[in-house]
C-alpha cells in the first residue's frame, strides 16, 4: 500500500496543498483553464482564497499582501498574465518582505485558449524568477521552493505550469518538503524599495539585476536541476512536462532537466553539454532554452520547427529524436464543443444571425456562437475586447454596415475588462451609436461555474457585496439600458435589438437568464445564505 502521506493529486491540487502547508496568507486570481482549480482546492482544504475581478487586480492584491509581510499566491492562465503584465514588470523591482508566488498556467496546444504564448518569455522580459514543474510532486515542491526563494531574496517568483501538469494526476508526497513557518505579518516602511518613482526605480532596476545574478549562482549550486546519467553519445536538455516524455521516449539518453528556468543555470548546462557527443534541446513551446544556450555559445541541436506548435507527447519526442520532421498525421476530428441545449445564449445568436449583425464576440461560452449551427461571431480577440472592437468597426465602416455592429460580452468578462470599453463608448461615441449585449448568465460559466463580483457571492459561495451592472452602466452615462430575457420572449428581444441598431444612440441590452448548468447550485447557495442571515 502507498504511504498514508502519499496522495493522488493533479498539479493544481498539489500547488494548493503546498500553499496550504506553507501557511499561505491569501490566494487570489481570476478563473482560467487550466489554473482554476488551484484556488477552489485551496479554499476546500481550509485556506483563504478569493476571486478577483481580473488578473491585474489579483496581482495587485497579492503585491499588497507581500508588502505587508504575508505569503500570497496569485493564479491565472497564461493570457491572464498579459492583463497583469503592468504590475508584473514593476513588482520585479520592488522589495517584498513577504512571499509573492505567481502561477502562470500555460496552454500549449490551446485546449481552451485563444493563443499558445510561452510565458517563460515573461520571466525574461520582466526579470522574474521562474520554476517549471514537470508533475504534481514537483508542483508541490516547487511551490515551496518558490516561497523560500521569494522570502530569501525579497523578489516575486513565478511558477510556470502547463495544461498537462495542471490537469494530470500523479502521486504527491508531502513529507520532507517544508518552508520556515510564516511570520506574523507586520508593516515595515521601506519607501525607496516600494514607491516606484523614477528616483527609486533606477537603483531598484540595478538591484534586481544584481539579485538575479545571485539567484543564478544559487541555481547553479543548489537549484532543482536534475541530471540523469546515461549514454555518453547523446544528451538531452529539457524542462517541464517535456522531461516526462523524454524519459519515456529515450530511456538510454543522458538528461539534464532544469527546474528553475529563469535565471538559467547556464554553466551547469554548459558542463552537461560537454559530457555528451550530441546535445539536443527538447522543449514544449518556444525555443527558449535553445536560444539561451546558443547565446551562451553552447553547441546544441534545435528541434525541428514543426514541434513548436501544439503539445509535445511521447510520439512527437520520438519523432524529434529520429530527426523526422515529415508532416504529422492529422488526428481524426472529434465532436466540437457546443452551446448546451437550452442554453440562454442560443436564442441570442439565432436572433443576431436573423438580424444579419456583425458580431464582435468575447471570451466565454458564447465564443461557441462562432461555430455551427450559429456561425454568428465575426471577431474575437481577448477578454473584454468586444466593446472596443465594435466601436472601432463602427468608426470605420460605412453607415449601412456600421449600424449592423454589436458587441457581445458575458457578465464575468464584463466586470473583468468591459467597464473601460463602456467608458470609451461614452467618451468617443460612433456617429451611428453602438449596441452592447451583456449576456448575464449569473456565473463564470466556461471555466466551470465560478463566482464573480456581479453574483454577490464570494469564491466559497457566501453572500458578499454585489456590483449591480445596470447601475454601473447607467452611472457611466449610458441612457438606454434594457434588461431582457430572450428565452422567455425571443420576438421581443429581436425587436429590441433591431430598434436599438436603428437609433444613432448608445444602448446596452442586458440579457439576464441563469446558466442552465449553474441554476440548481445557485438556488442552493442563495437558500443557504438566506438561512445564515
Amino acid at each position: 500500500m502507498q504511504n498514508k502521506k502519499t496522495q493522488l493529486l493533479n498539479g493544481d491540487e498539489a500547488v494548493a496543498l503546498a500553499a496550504f502547508d506553507a501557511g499561505i496568507t491569501l490566494g487570489t486570481g481570476y478563473p482560467g483553464t487550466p489554473s482554476t482549480e488551484i484556488l477552489e482546492e485551496l479554499e476546500r482544504i481550509g485556506g483563504h482564497a478569493q476571486w478577483a475581478p481580473n488578473e491585474k487586480v489579483a496581482l495587485e492584491v497579492g503585491i499588497g499582501s507581500a508588502v505587508a509581510g504575508g505569503r500570497a499566491i496569485v493564479t491565472m492562465k497564461h493570457v491572464g498574465l498579459n492583463v497583469a503584465a503592468d504590475p508584473l514588470f514593476t513588482v520585479a523591482y520592488m522589495d517584498l518582505p513577504g512571499a509573492l508566488v505567481i502561477i502562470s498556467a500555460d496552454d500549449p496546444g490551446m485546449a481552451s485558449s485563444q493563443n499558445e504564448q510561452d510565458n517563460r518569455r515573461y520571466a525574461v522580459a520582466a526579470g522574474i524568477v521562474m520554476f517549471e514543474p514537470s508533475d504534481a510532486q514537483e508542483a508541490y515542491e516547487f511551490t515551496m521552493r518558490a516561497i523560500e526563494v521569494a522570502e530569501c531574496w525579497h523578489v516575486p517568483v513565478m511558477l510556470r505550469m502547463t495544461t498537462r501538469v495542471c490537469h494530470s494526476k500523479s502521486l504527491v508526497k508531502r513529507a520532507g518538503v517544508a518552508v520556515p513557518p510564516s511570520r506574523v505579518p507586520e508593516y515595515v516602511r521601506n519607501v525607496s524599495g516600494r514607491v516606484m518613482i523614477p528616483a527609486n526605480a533606477r537603483p531598484a532596476h540595478r538591484k534586481l539585476r544584481e539579485t538575479l545574478s545571485q539567484i543564478a549562482q544559487w541555481n547553479e549550486r543548489s537549484g532543482p536541476t536534475q541530471v540523469i546519467a546515461g549514454s555518453r553519445s547523446f544528451g538531452i536538455v529539457t524542462s517541464g512536462i517535456a522531461f516526462q516524455h523524454v524519459r519515456e521516449a529515450a530511456p538510454e539518453a543522458s538528461v539534464l532537466k532544469i527546474g528553475m528556468t529563469h535565471p538559467l543555470p547556464i554553466e551547469a548546462i554548459r558542463s552537461f553539454a560537454k559530457t555528451v557527443e550530441r546535445c539536443l534541446v527538447i522543449e514544449e513551446g518556444d525555443p527558449y532554452l535553445y536560444e539561451a544556450m546558443r547565446t551562451a555559445g553552447i553547441q546544441v541541436e534545435e528541434q525541428p520547427p514543426i514541434f513548436r506548435f501544439g503539445e509535445l507527447n511521447v510520439g512527437r519526442v520520438r519523432r524529434i529524436l529520429d530527426g523526422d520532421s515529415s508532416p504529422e498525421a492529422k488526428p481524426v476530428p472529434g465532436k466540437p464543443p457546443a452551446l448546451c441545449s437550452g442554453c440562454p445564449h442560443r436564442t441570442i445568436f439565432t436572433a443576431l444571425k436573423e438580424l444579419d449583425c456583425i458580431v464582435c464576440g468575447d471570451i466565454g461560452c458564447y465564443a461557441l456562437g462562432a461555430l455551427p449551427p450559429f456561425d454568428a461571431v465575426d471577431v474575437s480577440v481577448c477578454m473584454g475586447a468586444s466593446i472596443g472592437l465594435g466601436l472601432g468597426m463602427r468608426h470605420t465602416l460605412a453607415q449601412h454596415d456600421a449600424k449592423r455592429v454589436v458587441s457581445v460580452i458575458g457578465d464575468s468578462t464584463f466586470l473583468h475588462s468591459g467597464l473601460t470599453g463602456i467608458a470609451e463608448m461614452v467618451y468617443n461615441p460612433p456617429l451611428t451609436g453602438h449596441v452592447v449585449l451583456l449576456l448575464d448568465n449569473g456565473i463564470t460559466a466556461m471555466t466551470g461555474m465560478q463566482e464573480h463580483p456581479g453574483t454577490g457571492r464570494s469564491l466559497e459561495h457566501r453572500k458578499t457585496g454585489k456590483v449591480v451592472v445596470e447601475e454601473v452602466i447607467r452611472a457611466m452615462g449610458i441612457r438606454n439600458v434594457h434588461i431582457t430575457d430572450a428565452t422567455r420572449d425571443p420576438a421581443a428581444f429581436g425587436e429590441l435589438v433591431k430598434s436599438s441598431l436603428e437609433k444613432p444612440e448608445l444602448s446596452v441590452i442586458i440579457n439576464r437568464r441563469v446558466c442552465l448548468l449553474a441554476a440548481k447550485s445557485i438556488k442552493e447557495y442563495e437558500k443557504c445564505n438566506e438561512q445564515n442571515n
Binding site: T33, A111, R164, S168, L368
Partner: protein, 157 residues
C-alpha cells in the same frame, strides 16, 4: 521490466469520462502502483469529445498514452470509437457501449461505471478495490445504482 498498463477512456462531455478515469486511477493507486492520469477539460465539457488517459505500473513517466500503445480503450459513446481508434495497440482491447446491456442499468447515466465492470475482467484488481474507489468518487445517493452497474458490466448479464 517496467510494464505499464495503458488505458484510454473516451466519450462526450457530460458522460462521466473523467469520473471513470478517476476511479481507475484510484484503484491502481490503492493497489500501491505508480499512477498517472491525464485529461483535457475546459471547452470540451460543452458536449464535445473528451478523453482521459490512465497509466499505471512500477514507474510511469509521461501522463499521456502514446498512439498505438493503449492496452484498453473504453468508449462511452458509439460515435467516439473511430475518433480514438488510433490510440489502441494492435493487441489492445476495445471496450465500448455495445458490450453492455444498457436496458439492465437502473440509470443509463451509470454506463461509465458499467464499462469499468467490463474493464475489471481484464485487470488484476479485486471487486472490493473497485467498489471502494467507485464509492469514494460518487455521492452516497448514487452508490447502489453504480455498484449494480459495475456488476452489470462485469457479468455482461
Amino acid at each position: 521490466m517496467n510494464k505499464i498498463t495503458n488505458i484510454v477512456v473516451a466519450g462526450l462531455g457530460g458522460q462521466g469520462v473523467l469520473k471513470a478515469s478517476d476511479i481507475i486511477a484510484e484503484v491502481a493507486f490503492g493497489a500501491g502502483l505508480d499512477v498517472k492520469k491525464s485529461e483535457i477539460h475546459g471547452m470540451s465539457q460543452r458536449g464535445g469529445s473528451v478523453s482521459s488517459d490512465v497509466r499505471f505500473g512500477d514507474h510511469v513517466f509521461s501522463p499521456m498514452v502514446p498512439d498505438g500503445e493503449a492496452d484498453f480503450l473504453v468508449v462511452l459513446a458509439a460515435d467516439q470509437v473511430e475518433v480514438n481508434a488510433a490510440v489502441l495497440s494492435p493487441t489492445g482491447v476495445l471496450i465500448d457501449v455495445s458490450q453492455v446491456k444498457e436496458d439492465k442499468l437502473r440509470n443509463k447515466k451509470s454506463i461509465n461505471v458499467a464499462l469499468l465492470g467490463t474493464l475489471s475482467q481484464h485487470l488484476k484488481f479485486t471487486d472490493e478495490e473497485w467498489i471502494a474507489a467507485i464509492k469514494r468518487n460518487l455521492p452516497e445517493t448514487l452508490h447502489d445504482t453504480n455498484v449494480e452497474a459495475f456488476y452489470v458490466g462485469k457479468n455482461k448479464a
